[in-house]
């Protein structure tokens, strides 16, 4: 008290920092700049979702690949911001991974789709009926010539032949097939386009994704399905033959937004339903005008990720560069699609490498049981220390509570998140934090037994125990650091807590407790020491 001491100063700083960062947890109405330094809870406590994305840069040049991950992160962040998630965390992990954490998100399906969605928007001209017929015939011929490359179709073909041979009749369960080949036996002509019966959709989808099938399609054309009906799985789907030339693409787009058709609208596709209205850039608008002018009477397909959303008839040249994407959207689907269209395409494709979703209920349970366990452990340990070391125990209990506060404060200060393993780390620290004090106290007891006065016993005890405390804690710190290096998410939280706990408990024992001893307990020439 009489003269300035570094120890006193460090204790004051220690207490102030702890109080500063803990205040937002306890006091509700703090100013904004202060309250924002609040301890963040991890996903496992708060509920939410976490996706680890793998960015596939194999298709890109080396130069492009370097920026691709960062570019993707930017796009994902923009999408999530527009989706509206509080405190999302999007980080680059290693060379080509992205970790996305979305606390509090419960509609994880929508969130995952939003992140993954590529939304490659293309406008393509639909083939005229006679052109389409020719394309399908060519596909049939090509497949028939190479039937062994398509095991699924080959099996089907055998089956058909068996049925036909057995009954000697040409009765066909598929009604009126579009052609004679095995491929066109799967589809039938519809009102405007071809149709695929619902139980054949799977095989058609597999074919469309097959690169061998794509080679069977004559150059300049492509086959696309329309959008699946999400309400029932037993809906037939239309199949379109499109010219593969891209008339306009997402790059020509300037803005997409969700609108609602008025209930009085005569167009059944938008009446009372959400749709997406898009505006094109100046150049895009020019192209659009040109395309519509050149193709009056034909149909223009709006294709998103290879799926035809709508294929309206071009009745006249359209200027101004506005169009609509309709297609049985729910309002949240329309919303996500608009976000994805606005934020642009991902530079490189991403695939989720792992996903975890934690319900809010489980998180709340974990906090409750974690804190119960912590408080019970803390109380027992404090009680023991008090009984065993009396005044010394009281002082170390005091330091112990401070230590727990210090861990929480430091987690806040470093912007780290408190996870369930983190809580476990704090609870374990409670058990281990007393160790430094125990070492010192045991030492002091020995010195007292050897007949030293309280003051010199205390000095000697601290002097000797300090080396031990250092050696013992540095090794634990090594484990914590390795754990941090290797771990992700919750485990890192645990490592950080453990490391902070070790540092905090060393400080508490060697500086904090000692000062209290020196200042208040061993004053003057007291003959006894309650320890």
């Amino acid at each position: 008290m009489k003269k300035f001491s570094w120890r006193g100063l460090s204790i004051i700083i220690f207490i102030c920092v702890t109080a500063f960062y803990l205040a937002p947890l306890a006091i509700p109405n703090l100013p904004e700049w202060w309250a924002k330094n609040k301890l963040k809870l991890g996903l496992d406590l708060k509920g939410g979702m976490q996706i680890l994305l793998e960015v596939d840069t194999s298709e890109l040049s080396v130069a492009d690949a370097r920026g691709a991950v960062d570019q993707n992160i930017k796009i994902i962040r923009e999408r999530i911001d527009q989706f509206g998630v509080a405190e999302p965390s999007i980080q680059k992990l290693g060379e080509n991974r992205i970790m996305v954490q979305l606390p509090g998100v419960s509609d994880y399906q929508a969130a995952e789709n939003l992140i993954k969605q590529t939304a490659m928007l293309e406008f393509k001209i639909v083939a005229q009926p006679e052109e389409a017929k020719r394309v399908l015939d060519t596909i049939d011929a090509n497949i028939n010539a190479n039937l062994s490359f398509f095991p699924a179709l080959e099996a089907l073909d055998k089956q058909d032949k068996a049925i036909l041979a057995d009954t000697l009749a040409s009765a066909d369960s598929l009604g009126n097939p579009a052609g004679s080949g095995v491929f066109s036996s799967l589809i039938r002509p519809g009102e405007m386009d071809y149709e695929v019966q619902w139980d054949n959709v799977d095989i058609i989808q597999q074919l469309l994704a097959d690169s061998l099938f794509q080679r069977a399609v004559p150059a300049g054309w492509q086959i696309s399905l329309d959008r699946a009906n999400t309400e029932t799985t037993r809906a037939d789907r239309a199949l379109h033959v499109l010219s593969s030339a891209v008339e306009l693409s997402g790059a020509d787009l300037s803005k997409a937004k969700v609108e609602y058709g008025s209930s009085t609208s005569t167009d059944p596709r938008i009446a009372n339903k959400p749709y997406i209205s898009i505006e094109m850039k100046r150049e895009g608008a020019r192209k659009f005008e040109q395309v519509t002018a050149d193709n009056v009477g034909k149909r223009l397909a709006i294709v998103l990720d290879g799926i035809v959303y709508s294929a309206p008839n071009i009745q006249e040249r359209i200027a101004g560069g506005r169009a609509q994407i309709t297609g049985r959207f729910t309002s949240s689907e329309a919303n996500e699609l608009a976000i994805v269209l606005n934020t642009g395409n991902l530079i490189a494709p991403i695939t989720p490498a792992s996903t975890s979703i934690i319900g809010a209920t489980l998180g709340a349970d974990s906090i409750r049981s974690g804190s119960t366990a912590g408080i019970i452990g803390l109380v027992i340990v404090m009680f023991f220390m008090l009984i065993y070391y009396k005044v010394g125990g009281l002082v170390s209990d005091f330091a112990l509570v401070f230590n727990v506060g210090f861990i929480l404060a430091m987690l806040t200060a470093f912007g780290a998140t408190l996870t369930l393993p983190g809580i476990a780390g704090i609870i374990l620290t409670i058990g281990m934090a007393v160790d430094a004090n125990v070492l010192v106290f045991e030492r002091i007891r020995e010195e007292l037994d050897a007949g030293k006065t309280p003051r010199s016993a205390c000095d000697a005890g601290y002097k000797r125990a300090t080396i031990t405390v250092w050696d013992a804690n540095v090794t634990t710190l090594i484990a914590a650091i390795v754990l941090y290096q290797f771990g992700t998410g919750p485990i890192r939280g645990f490592a950080v807590t453990l490391a902070i706990g070790i540092i905090g408990s060393m400080f508490c024992a060697l500086v904090f407790v000692r000062s209290i001893f020196d200042t208040f307990i061993i004053t003057g020439t007291k003959k006894t020491l309650s320890i």
């Binding site: 989720p352 409750r368 080396i467």
Partner: protein
Amino acid sequence: MRLMQNTNINFVGMRKGAYVISGILILAAIIGLAVRGLNWSIDFTSGVAAKVDLKALDTSVAPIQIDELRTVLKNNGFPEAEIQHVGIVDDATFMIKIKSAESKDEVSGDTKTAIIEIIKTNFPKHIEGRDMNRDVIEEIYEVGPKVGGELRTDAILAVVISLILMIIYIWFRFELTFGLMAIAALAHDVIIIIGVFALTGKEITIQIIAALLTIVGYSINDTIVIFDRVREDLKIRRKDPVGQVFNYSINETLSRTVITSGTTLITALALYFFGGTVLHDFALAISLGVIIGTYSSIFVASNLVVDLTHATHKEKQAMQHLTKRK
């Protein structure tokens, strides 16, 4: 109040017995590992794990039996699903695990969605009135094979790296034999605990790896406190035989060892009993670790140093080296 004060237990004398006990434990652990192998969790193998709460709000609805759920999943294309009750049976909370086969290189991204759909369509009464995403599904993990394999390598690497770093630190602060034997004692602890997990078939999750590393950190702490005392006592009792000095030191630090182990064990047990199901195995591993770690610090690490320095005739040299340094 004082515990274990001025004890004079001949720990060094008991070392043969301790070696036998440790030997049996390690042998059991190795046999367990060889015969039953480790049950790596989804985190490390890849697949889908889902925890679902299927307790109906309407109490008149009969609770789902585990076999019922198994049959439903089996009929819907997941015959390999492992299903377990979480917590008490009345809670009707289930853990569904579908590990992807090693041969499959991609876990289907739709497995997660498929499971949710199956539950939705088959148990409508049990989820009625509750939000599917918030209340029914407590958690879902889906791990791709690439990440899973990497994690396993990383986990093993983390344990090995931390052991090596510790040897170096102890070598620097004490002496090489001390470092090596401290690590031998640690390996002893880790092997026995892993053995317990192998024998009981409990899952090795990421949290268990964290628990193992905590034990490593904790057990070395105990060992170092004893070594530190040995280092000090060797300077004071230069004339006594090394074994006796070790015995002194272990006895002198015994009350500290018991108290610290006790407080740590208390908190670990508090976690075990009150920390909820998620931390159950984690707390179990820590509790076991504290007990085994304390045992090995007292009976294994120091005794090994005594025997090894004696056997290699480096006793003098090692002790001189040790007392020279600070």
